[in-house]
């Protein structure tokens, strides 16, 4: 496994000229100074010897403070692996991950709520884990539940809530950790399109209210185009950064807007091109 440097040079993406807001980023040197997350030439190998699998190959990317970065790729591109590494749940084989001493939290595709606790207790436990005094916890819990529009559901247990509501409790729990960096691993992947659209709005609002740096993994191209300030495309087996798209933000977007559709089409073309490389 040779350690090749950096990401591949981005090529001119097909359809890019049809989309004026889209710029392809070749050099992010200007942002190097103050990144919330910096991943430098990180590789991850699973197993050893002949059965070894190179999951991530010299991946470099950064998330600026307050930036919303979407990470997209086909199956097996190591998206989730990268998040686990940034979250500190797993160790990189080589390379550096720098989160500048900030608090990092991770949200999963499943809500991963504790089924024996009520919604409010789930959120409160995150507060307790970071040592918030008991007197403050109640008020903070209610505040967080209201942030995700679940003020009236604190006494419900996870199984009494719908999938979308559970995922919002999980979001409230993640916010309770008062993290600076929020890593999200396909958090809305298991939800229906209607609920997902509404949760995109909610997430956008919540991120606008605070300075959260978000690294959002998804396999849904439209979702990435809808949410990201920047979309990073990974190749598959091994995962490598092959393209980055800057998406200038001009107020709230809609998933069915023309800009989102066009960017999604561009990214889809790029991903198909990448997949056809595996087809032969």
């Amino acid at each position: 496994m040779s350690m090749r440097s950096g990401r591949l040079t981005p090529k001119e993406a097909p359809g890019a000229s049809a989309f004026p807001n889209l710029t392809i980023v070749a050099d992010r040197g200007a942002e190097q100074a103050a990144a919330a997350v910096r991943v430098t030439e990180v590789s991850k190998v699973y197993g050893q010897g002949r059965g070894a699998l190179l999951a991530l190959d010299s991946v470099s990317l950064s998330v600026a403070p307050g930036e919303f970065v979407c990470l997209i790729g086909a199956s097996g591109c190591g998206k989730s692996t990268l998040l686990s590494l940034v979250a500190g749940l797993d160790m990189a084989t080589s390379g550096q991950i720098d989160t500048a001493g900030q608090r990092v939290t991770l949200m999963f595709q499943e809500p991963a709520l504790f089924p024996w606790l009520t919604a409010a207790r789930n959120v409160e436990l995150a507060l307790r884990a970071r040592g918030v005094p008991k007197a403050e916890r109640r008020a903070r819990t209610l505040e967080l539940l209201e942030t995700v529009h679940l003020g009236g559901f604190g006494a419900k247990r996870p199984h009494e809530l719908s999938g979308g509501m559970r995922q919002r409790v999980a979001l409230a729990r993640a916010l309770a950790q008062d993290a600076d960096v929020l890593l999200m691993d396909e958090p809305f992947g298991a939800l229906d399109a209607m609920t997902r659209d509404l949760l995109h709005d909610e997430l956008e609002r919540i991120c606008a209210e605070r300075t959260l740096s978000v690294l959002f993994v998804t396999h849904n191209v439209r979702e990435a185009a809808r949410l990201g300030d920047r979309v990073v495309v990974l190749s598959s087996r091994p995962g490598r950064v092959i393209e980055e798209y800057d998406v200038p933000r001009q107020g709230p977007r809609r998933i069915d807007s023309r800009e989102v559709s066009e960017l999604a089409a561009t990214i889809t073309d790029r991903l198909r091109e990448e997949m056809s490389r595996h087809g032969g």
Binding site: F108, P115, A129, H149, S162, R173, M194, D201
Partner: protein, 291 residues
């Protein structure tokens, strides 16, 4: 949602999604669920009584075998005797004491084995081995060690029940969903807090199942012990049953068996209730099912 002044699409969707859940409450529901729980047991009792009476009517072993019409009044009479209640008191005291000991010892061993990996292989197989051992086979050993005493009985009860309890706890810890462990880790639950707020609550259903099985073993060991370890001046259920055997008192022996059955079933149903309560809280029971 009075707290939220902004009407939003998402709360509307929530109300749509949760609107269909039926919320039955009140005295009618309690009565219905009590009846639903009671009727299979009543039917079982009736069936046994009918079968027993039929066997009695065939005249098989007619010299000793009495029908329920003789035994039930006999039991009724026994219930007005201080002796039965004294015996019951002694037996139940032993049951509580032996089970409590088994619970403490089983839990401590279970937790240690679950926590310390090197202990796992060795102690794990000892626990499995102990579970295959019929408890009655321990009595000669226990009597040599402790003499004909309550300690001998308690010793065998602990040997019978503690492995099940330990096993339940170990299973629960082992099968804590990895996703929840990851969630706990990102939340920063470490060390004692990780056990207190994550692993132990997560293992509760398996632990309760282990406690239930442990009770069954403890109760069997206790009955075997009381029949083998007869202690002067301590009339227990086992002693009364033994006396009935010596006196060839079929009605008395049958009455004692009914008493033993009732206690066993009553305590077992307590565990079943606890088990269901735990599962219901976690949404592990189908909502429509009463029993």
């Amino acid at each position: 949602m009075a707290a939220d002044t902004r009407p939003s699409a998402i709360t509307g969707l929530d109300n749509l999604e949760l609107g269909g859940l039926p919320q039955q409450r009140g005295a009618g529901r309690v009565a219905r669920s009590a009846w639903a729980a009671a009727w299979p047991k009543l039917l079982a009792v009736a069936l046994v009584l009918v079968l027993w009476q039929l066997v009695h009517l065939t005249g098989w072993k007619s010299a000793v075998l009495k029908g329920p019409t003789v035994v039930l009044p006999d039991l009724w009479g026994l219930m007005h005797h201080a002796l039965l209640w004294q015996a019951l008191g002694i037996t139940l005291r032993r049951a509580v004491l032996g089970y409590a000991l088994a619970l403490v010892i089983g839990s401590v061993i279970g937790l240690l084995v679950a926590r310390i990996t090197p202990l796992r292989a060795a102690v794990g197989s000892i626990i499995t081995g102990l579970q295959t051992m019929p408890s009655i086979a321990w009595f000669p050993f226990a009597i040599i060690l402790f003499g004909l005493s309550t300690s001998a009985i308690l010793f065998v009860m602990v040997l019978g029940a503690a492995p099940s309890i330990a096993n339940g706890l170990i299973t629960g810890v082992d099968y804590t969903p990895p996703l929840l462990l990851r969630a706990g880790k990102t939340m920063g639950l470490r060390g004692f807090n990780r056990y207190r707020y994550l692993i132990l609550p997560a293992s509760l259903p398996a632990y309760v199942a282990g406690m239930k099985q442990g009770w069954a073993f403890a109760w069997r060991s206790l009955m075997a012990g009381e029949l083998l370890v007869l202690i002067l001046g301590q009339p227990s259920i086992g002693v009364l049953l033994n006396n009935d055997q010596d006196l060839q008192d079929f009605a008395g022996a049958s009455a004692m068996i009914i008493v033993i059955l009732i206690i066993g079933i009553a305590v077992d149903s307590l565990f079943t209730t606890a088990d269901k309560a735990v599962r219901r809280r976690r949404g592990l029971l189908e909502p429509g099912r009463a029993s």
